[in-house]
Amino acid sequence: MVNRVVKPKLIEAITFIAVALMIASPFYAVQSQYVPREDTVFIIGVEWGTVRSMNPYTGNPTPLWGHAYLPLFTYSALKDVWIPTLAERYEFVDPYTLRIYIRAEAKWSDGRPITAYDVEYTYFVTQQVGVGPGAGCQDYLEYIKAVGDKVVETKMKEPPRNYYSFLSCSLNFWPLPKHVIQPIFEKEGKEGITKWGNTDPATQVVSGAYKIYYFSPSDRIILMRLDDWWGKGIFGVPGPKYIAHLLYADNAAANAALEAGDADWAGTFIPEVWKLQAKGIFTWYKEAPYYVGAGVNFLYLNLKRPEFQNPAVRKAIAYALPYKDMLEKAYFGYSPQATGVGVNDLIAAYKKYLSPDLCTKYGLTSDCRFDTNVEKAKQILKDAGIDPSKISIEIATPSGWSDWNMMATMMAEALRAVGFDASAPTPDFSVWWDSLTKGTYSAVIGWDGGIGFDHPWGVYRYVLDPRLSFPSGNWEGYTNTGVIQYIDAIPQLMAEPEKQLSLILKVQEIFLRDLPAIPLFYGAHWYAYNTKYWVGWPGEDNPWWWPTAPWDAQSWPIPFGLVKAGQTPKAPEWINKLAVPTSKIVSDLAKAGAPAPVTVTVPTTVASTTTVVSTSTVTVGATTITVVSPSTTVSTVVSTVTAAPQTVTQTVTEWTTTIVLAVVLFIIGFVISWFIKIKRK
């Protein structure tokens, strides 16, 4: 009978201890600091689920990483310029060799100088791991090496002589502190460096104006300004003392925080964003399209299917689509219709790649867009002798991607009006992706490789290159190998812009003739800001910086232009002072001497007699990702670095955390089981 008395007491005691433990445990990190609201920029729309680490060797670090680590040069698409960041200048030794001079004052946050050896070693580790700063660059670079404490030398690989990749791999490079990563890499190898979190405030060493302050993977990340950072004489000191990012359940919850004034800088999709202007929340443009469009989104038709192999079918579809209506209703007007040649004309610097003559020749409007013209679509089909009712088009979009879902529905409706047997299924993302991987889809909405200084070449390469296949490009399975010579030649002609432009127009002509994919709209570069606590945000009327989305690592200058609400903002002067236009780099390259002439046979007119895609014997596109040149591992890079041990026998088990976890859970499990046993008895 003693049992009767003891047992409830025991249960109570255990329960009490368990509850007490639980309540106390979130606070084991005893830090009593506040993050004052008025000193902090709160970001939404970057991290979901868990906060990613700050280690670029994961290939997938949190983009907030960009505030802590700076590149040698930063690229801004808005004015097509490069900002010397860690570097102070570049110099072409010859047309194949570039020297980058790192600023004398550049220092890591622990006081050590940033040197060319950091760059060299960072690249070396990337080569070993496969991901990291400069991943994939080995196809285009002979080497990146230090030729002095502050001088980095990079050499272009030839072939393929790709100046776009050569320049972006060299200039747009993010070095890491060698003295931090070397011990990890040499001791623990590839595995160790991938699993390096780099989120410990005590040990993190950064090159930028912010450093990690608080990190909890399931909750939030906070960066703190380094008031005494090395670049304050050049770039000044950013306004916000803290940059914080909290995890929200979904877009709606995050947007609610923005609306309530709990967040300042948004990278989320916001429905009807114009309604927030009354609350002091704005986007890049004050009216439609509100956002700057970045990459082009296409309607990809599966060219392996015989019914889509006739260009007339694709053109008829292009004329049948209700661009304006669909973008207004499904996309809130956040993007205009994309140009029919895939060039983003929202960014002024890229308008030069459009040719009204060429566009009108192929039946587009003078601003290079397809009309919505059902009659014309029907006529095209009639002329080609095609019965649309025998062609079934299923425009698949992943379930839950509501804007795409609605667009697909509207497109299907419009296509039915022309006579096609069209529908818009919404499978689960995994099924959708699987159908693309296996090539079993009918039609999908999809994206391209995004926007960069290789625009529009990057788009054409992504969409047209028959050597690529999903997901790295050529979703539709275009097999015209005739386009390869242009794709390979354009990047070689960096120093000869006119010749380059003429080749770009050649590709456009092929694109318009074959129309392998139909450009729909520009994927919006999500960016909204709240002026409640911070002002000075870049926008159309104050266009001092772009990219602006918080999930873009090259948006790091934005905090430098922010001041507290009530003060007068001033756009950072150093941007215009330091900016080097791409055209300047091109002319410097031309001055460096003439590279060996490019051997491309450029026919005066594009052969337009053959229907290109009908030859299914060409199987280049069907194989796995085969890219320009065979990848050779870089073993000749440097002499100063020693290879890390390749095989690491790691039997480290996280016993401390596991045990603590087990103990807490065990207590709870024990209570539960005890209850059950009482009942059973």
């Binding site: 991938t194 608080y214 399931s218 359940a249 016993w655």
Partner: protein
């Protein structure tokens, strides 16, 4: 001294435990891999959408590196063996989507919040629900009982996540009385200061209420019925006939009818480690449910596996230990073991 029969009994239990553990782990492993995509696809999608200018070469390198790193290039049976052996060593591995992040780190940062939210709410709902349920059963036919029955029925049939959304809408977005989510204010960092605890409790009220109120009704209804049964039993009738005070009778009734409810409590606490999935999502509460939900949609195998390994392992181990203790205390169980 552990007798032979006891050792035999425990050995049998241990073997049984081992088999169930492996089966449970295997089910988790297989279910995850039935989804047609793999984590690398998810990662690649993220990269393609967020990186402004990712080149095909980069993608190729990334995919190669990820397949190697996650060991997805190895045959499935090898992955399975690695997974099992790690599960037994207590190594939860590394997240695939949040590359390189330890699963144990993620769970450690989420679990306390979940327990903090679910356990007190469940206990409180249990306690209050049973008290008023018992009282209603005792006062059968009164206005209180009738009202309670109707209210409880409605509450117990209300989906708790929907109720949570209503609370959020009314008190956070319309009335602005409570914060609209998170576990503590954006401007604070966890610490053991009174301000922080106060703020955390303030953020705690709505999620707590949503679980508390939604599960209250169920307990009350159950307890009411049990009490009514108990009131009709012979020994209570006899006690009443003896003219015992009402309060004492009530205590007897309560004691006896609570037992099935204890089992029910145990069961709902058992689910606590998994988190109040939807409540946490509605309130952006940084708990296990939120982590698990994201991990499942992103096919982040190791995180999902980690959550389940912990759940399964602790429950099994605790069960085993209870068995062990009972076997020591109660000879009948040992004898039962002998017979088996």
């Amino acid at each position: 001294m552990i007798s032979k029969s006891l050792a035999k009994y425990l050995g049998f239990r241990l073997a049984f435990l081992l088999v169930t553990y492996i089966v449970a782990l295997s089910i988790v492993f297989i279910l995850l891999r039935l989804v047609p995509t793999n984590p690398v696809d998810r990662l690649i999608t993220q990269l393609l959408q967020l990186n402004p200018n990712i080149t095909p070469e980069q993608l190729r390198e990334y995919m190669k590196a990820y397949y190697a790193l996650f060991e997805l290039d190895k045959p499935l049976w090898m992955q399975y063996i690695t997974y099992l052996s790690k599960a037994f060593r207590g190594d939860l591995g590394f997240s695939y989507i949040n590359v390189g992040r330890k699963v144990s780190d993620i769970i450690m940062s989420a679990l306390p919040w979940t327990l903090f939210l679910v356990v007190p709410a469940t206990l409180a709902a249990w306690f209050v629900g049973n008290s008023i349920g018992a009282y209603a059963g005792y006062k059968r036919g009164s206005l209180f009982e009738k009202t309670l029955l109707i209210v409880s029925l409605i509450l117990s049939q209300t989906p708790y996540y929907w109720f949570a959304m209503l609370l959020l809408f009314a008190f956070a977005y319309r009335l602005n009385i409570f914060p609209p989510g998170q576990a503590y204010p954006p401007t604070m960092l966890p610490s053991l200061t009174p301000q922080f605890i106060q703020a955390a409790l303030y953020h705690y009220i709505l999620p707590f209420l949503s679980i508390f109120v939604a599960s209250l009704g169920g307990w009350a209804i159950g307890m009411r019925v049990l009490t009514i049964y108990e009131l009709g039993s012979d020994h209570i009738l006899f006690t009443e006939a003896l003219g015992t005070k009402d309060s004492i009778v009530f205590r007897y009734v309560f004691r006896n009818s609570i037992i099935p409810q204890v089992t029910g409590l145990a069961l709902s606490l058992g689910g606590a480690v998994g988190g109040a999935l939807l409540t946490e999502i509605v309130f952006s509460y940084p708990g296990m449910g939120y982590v698990l939900n994201r991990a499942i949609t992103q096919t982040d195998y190791p995180v999902v596996q980690g959550v389940f390994v912990i759940l399964i392992a602790t429950l099994f181990l605790a069960n085993f230990l209870v068995d062990f203790v009972y076997a020591l205390i109660d000879p009948r169980i040992r004898i039962g073991g002998e017979k088996a």
